[in-house]
Symmetry: C2
Subunit: 138 residues, 2 copies
DNA sequence: GTTTATGCAAATTCTTTGCAATACT
DNA sequence: AGTATTGCAAAGAATTTGCATAAAC
């Protein structure tokens, strides 16, 4: 089981019940989750505002990243170890959003091909979102 | 200037003032816009509900497509002519969202490379969103 | 003992729904 | 005339803010 306390300590974040539970959940689940999903999986034990604030804190400290869910909603997923490589925090993400079950999976296996933008565009992040039907819903 | 009336007729949609104005705006602007931006550019002359419903109508009839804007918001952009090729409506889009001016540009020049997902994932659409700084904001 | 996080209430914004009035063909 | 669209009011959902209380270091 993941050492959630250590993760928090590394970021100089206070270890609280809320943060630990949310972080544990995100380590356990391999899917990206919205605030609502997180709240439901934690059985309504935390205030929605607290979850929002916790997610923002995690976001600002590079513990999680935003995931596009294809429906205008916002989801969050744990950052992987390599987010911090090369000294800068970066996210070249590939996600798959199922149109049936609405779950968003992080696809780690896919290597993002390089794409060249027209001159003048300075790229900081790349998000790739596939939408379709996941193996479970077929 | 674009023959907006013809676009509507091709889809068997009634030609109304709201639809024509919104469609003209989207033809003129090359960027993807949210309901709010559309409303503002049209100077508040239309009810927000009407704009939402118009966008849904356009979406259902393949005149526009949704664009991810990187902040959980939803934007819309005109479909290009080739959306309908091969008999099915598809959107393999590349967009660039500027973190400074928040504008979302459609990048037509970039050819989407093929990416292979793990077995079992049935892909219907692919969205690629670059985030960074656009030429105007540099 | 300070500083930071939490919970509650309430405000904002985004989006949808119902219904009567209006515009389109 | 008949059907689809619009505007208004209002509901619902997502997200943010202020402030007093409680927890962490």
């Amino acid at each position: 089981m993941a050492d959630v306390g250590n993760l928090l300590k590394k970021k100089s974040l206070r270890k609280t019940v809320t943060r630990s539970k949310i972080l544990e959940l995100m380590v356990d689940e391999s899917i990206a989750m919205s605030e609502r999903e997180i709240g439901e999986k934690l059985d309504g034990s935390f205030d929605r505002v607290t979850i929002y604030r916790t997610l923002h804190t995690f976001l600002n400290n590079g513990l999680v990243h935003k995931v596009l869910d294809g429906n205008g909603g916002t989801k969050y997923a744990l950052c992987q170890h390599d987010c911090e490589e090369n000294g800068k925090h970066h996210h070249d993400h590939v996600h798959f959003s199922c149109q049936v079950c609405k779950q968003t999976h992080c696809i780690e296996q896919v290597q993002l091909p390089s794409m060249n933008l027209p001159d003048g565009f300075q790229v900081k992040e790349v998000n790739v979102l596939f939408e379709g039907i996941c193996p479970n819903c077929k």
